[in-house]
């Protein structure tokens, strides 16, 4: 899996490409923006072709590290295969999920300024 990081109006955007499983999950867990409790991060999952419980675990643990868990991580552009696994594990309850990255970033920055 490869992670390309960009940022827009102070929000970090991580675009994941490939497989998010036990082998690649550590790469996401150790990402600087993910670890930083103050940083709100949008994770773009459009190019993720497979995710399993280790991938879900990595994303859930990322939101645990944020100061306000429900707003710290915003998810964008889930394809069917990824959304199905979120639904199986009920993890979709923990995140705001957008089908468009810009919308996710706007939401994230509004939440960030509201709580700052």
């Amino acid at each position: 899996m490869t992670i390309t990081e960009t940022s827009k109006i102070g929000i970090a955007i991580l675009s994941l490409y490939g497989t998010l499983d036990a082998l690649s999950a550590p790469e996401l867990r150790n990402n600087r923006s993910i670890i930083d409790p103050e940083k709100t991060v949008v994770i773009d999952l459009q190019q993720v072709d497979f995710i399993d419980s280790s991938g879900i675990g990595a994303i859930v643990s990322a939101s645990r590290q944020k100061r306000q868990p429900s707003g710290g991580i915003v998810l964008a552009c889930m394809n069917d295969r990824v959304r199905k696994v979120f639904e199986i594990t009920n993890a979709q309850k923990l995140f705001h999920i957008f089908d468009d990255t810009t919308a996710a970033v706007d939401f994230a920055s509004s939440r960030q300024s509201a709580s700052a």
Partner: protein, 140 residues
């Protein structure tokens, strides 16, 4: 493809989880034949991809530290529209009756067996000699 048996033996390392699941997906694709493009077909294959990925990753995480490299064996068996995959490893015994993780507590693990139970029709665990065998099946 009826009553034929396919086996895949892999070293118990995370690196090979992808080979396990992609092989499972290919077997499922062969079973469902050309309606692999229909949603039902895609779900069937994705189910086996997920189940095998979870089962294999579990075997690897609980693999014993030992001189001889630990191995995980997958067998696929297709009969009367039902595809059965079983995962053999030489780990310590375990139970698949694990509680459903409570999502509100932001759990980080325990999802594996939950996913397997949800996507597969039938999941059993048995001990054979000093081998664990978890077998999972789904009907087309």
């Amino acid at each position: 493809m009826n009553n034929s048996n396919i086996t895949l033996t892999l070293p118990a390392e995370r690196l090979f989880a992808r080979v396990a699941r992609q092989t499972a997906s290919s077997v499922a694709d062969l079973v469902i034949g050309d309606d692999r493009h229909e949603p039902a077909g895609r779900d069937f294959s994705h189910a086996f991809e997920l189940a095998v990925s979870e089962a294999f990753t579990n075997s690897v995480t609980h693999a014993r530290e030992s001189a001889t490299p630990q191995v995980v064996k997958l067998t696929f068996f297709f009969e009367q529209r039902q595809l059965v995959v079983s995962v053999h490893d030489a780990n310590d015994p375990f139970t698949i009756e694990t509680p459903v993780p409570d999502i509100e507590s932001y759990p980080e693990n325990g999802f594996g067996l939950l996913i397997i139970r949800k996507v597969m029709d039938h999941v059993t665990y048995r001990r054979e000699g000093n081998y664990n065998i978890i077998s999972m099946s789904k009907t087309l």
